[in-house]
């Protein structure tokens, strides 16, 4: 199991040919209090870079992009009633959706955890 990060502050945790996607601790902190999250429906086909989910704080709306191509397995059902879960546990219980991994080669351009944490420090 390996976790990768994107320059848009999504994380992607890969287990075999499935992946779990969420936003980083840095991203939730930058957004502030999250009041709404919309996750993609099961079965939706995503291309790399597609707008897959929406997250809104009191102040602003942001898109969550698909870091890789694949098909949505499920959205996180807990986020509808408790979007603040993303603030409390962004890289754990506050995950957004799970998807199949169509092309493992797409992971090559992503950062690993250590590289992401270092990069975020420079922002």
């Amino acid at each position: 199991m390996t976790t990768y990060f994107t320059g848009e502050h999504e994380w992607i945790k890969v287990e075999g040919d499935t992946a779990t996607i969420g936003i980083s601790d840095h991203a939730q902190n930058a957004l502030g209090d999250i009041v709404f999250a919309e996750v993609p429906e099961q079965g939706r086909a995503l291309n790399k870079g597609d707008e897959a989910a929406v997250v809104e704080s009191v102040k602003a709306a942001s898109d969550v992009y698909a870091p890789v191509a694949g098909e949505v397995i499920m959205g996180n059902p807990a986020l509808a009633d408790d979007p603040a879960l993303i603030n409390r546990d962004p890289e754990g219980e506050g995950w957004f959706f799970k998807m199949t991994l169509a092309d493992a080669g797409e992971l090559d351009g992503l950062m690993d955890q250590a590289a992401y944490r270092e990069w975020v420090k420079t922002l």
Binding site: A30, D33, V54, E56, S57, V58, K59, A61, A80
Partner: protein
């Protein structure tokens, strides 16, 4: 996140104070301003139950001196200023020649002159308008070395009375000269949250010591611009540049309360015939409040649709209400659709939302008004 050119952005007198207290700073109205400290929702709810300290020193603090200064200001503002007693303040608007709103403001009669607080983003343009359009002999001064703090919330009076004895005697929309933490201060019982509270004008060099003295009380926390926006939205108060602009008149903006009886009868302010006509016959459009179904905020720029799906207006402000735990919004619609209870649709990024026209304020005001006849 895009890089922003911050070279021309000014710093507040309390810039270091904000950073020391954990503020996240953002550019706003030409200044680095604190947008949040602990988090918008916590700060919002704190202000509704305790006392929130806001730095609003970006706003323009102006004085107007000259003979018959009240009558002179009435040539540009539609409010009844002649009736104002010493130390009383009034909400009003600077109007352009066709009755459009150049800015909204608070005007106070202070002995022989008027003290006026205008919005930060518009203050330089306002000063030009005043200087160009006021009668000769009126002197406009901009108090750039003056800071402005606001202490808002149900415990504001208790906190401030201990530092500036006598302020508890003020009623809503009344001010006076006091001393706080050894510093002369003009303090008025007013604000932008819907709560009881005060606005405190002090020399910028004393701002940190006054802020420290206020924050020493366990009921006080610093509050950022984020919560200031959600608090004023719940209170139904419009924000200039979003809910008000030169395309809107006081009647369209549902602010006709600010036009006194004498001014309606006598006119003598910019756009008077148009505005009095709108008071009598209604304006084409009107500012409304909306309760939005679901949990997702609908924000500025979203379309307002009627039952047939035709655009009848736009959202000008919207957020998730921390007090009501639901999305609320303000916008403009054709007056025929402005009645409370009217069901409308909103469209944002291709998605349709149900909404109902709702009387404002969304959260009741809790101003400290003296009983009638007192």
């Amino acid at each position: 996140m895009a890089e922003t050119d911050t070279a021309d952005i000014q710093t507040l007198a309390l810039d270091a104070w904000h950073r020391d207290h954990g503020a996240r700073m953002v550019p706003f109205a030409g200044y680095h301003m604190p947008v949040q400290y602990d988090g918008v929702i916590a700060e919002h709810l704190w202000t509704r139950t305790e006392a929130g300290l806001f730095d609003v020193s970006h706003m323009g603090q102006l004085t107007f001196h000259g003979d018959n200064v009240d009558m002179a200001l009435e040539t540009l503002l539609p409010g009844d200023l002649q009736i104002l007693k010493d130390g009383r303040l009034r909400y009003s608007m600077l109007l352009d020649e066709s009755g459009g709103i150049i800015d909204d403001l608070m005007a106070t009669r202070r002995r022989d002159h008027f003290y006026v607080v205008v919005n930060g983003a518009t203050k330089n343009g306002d000063i030009e308008e005043f200087e160009r359009r006021l009668p000769r002999g009126i002197v406009v001064d901009h108090w750039k070395e003056q800071a402005l703090l606001a202490l808002q919330g149900p415990r504001a009076a208790e906190v401030l009375e201990a530092l500036a004895p006598g302020i508890a005697e003020l009623s809503f929309m009344q001010g006076g000269q006091f001393e706080i933490a050894g510093t002369p201060a003009w303090i008025s019982r007013s604000g932008y949250t819907g709560e009881d509270g005060y606005e405190i004008s002090i020399a910028a060099r004393a701002a940190a010591s006054v802020a420290d003295a206020l924050l020493a009380h366990e009921a006080v926390k610093p509050i950022g611009l984020g919560a200031r926006d959600s608090l004023r939205l719940e209170a139904g108060l419009p924000l200039y540049g979003h809910d008000l602009d030169r395309e809107t008149t006081p009647v369209m903006a549902d602010l006709q309360f600010a036009i006194g009886k004498r001014r309606r009868a006598d006119g003598g302010f910019p756009g008077a015939s148009r505005i009095v006509g709108e008071i009598d016959q209604g304006s084409v459009q009107r500012r409304i409040g909306l309760n939005v179904e679901g949990r997702q905020p609908v924000r500025e720029g979203a379309l307002i649709l009627n039952g047939e799906g035709n655009e009848i207006g736009r959202i000008t402000s919207g957020t998730f209400s921390p007090s009501l735990q639901r999305p609320i919004a303000m916008g403009y619609v054709a007056s025929a659709q402005a009645e409370p209870g009217t069901a409308l649709k909103l469209e944002q990024r291709g998605k349709i939302f149900d909404a109902v026209v709702t009387p404002m304020p969304f959260v009741p005001h809790r101003y400290h008004r003296k009983p009638a006849g007192a």
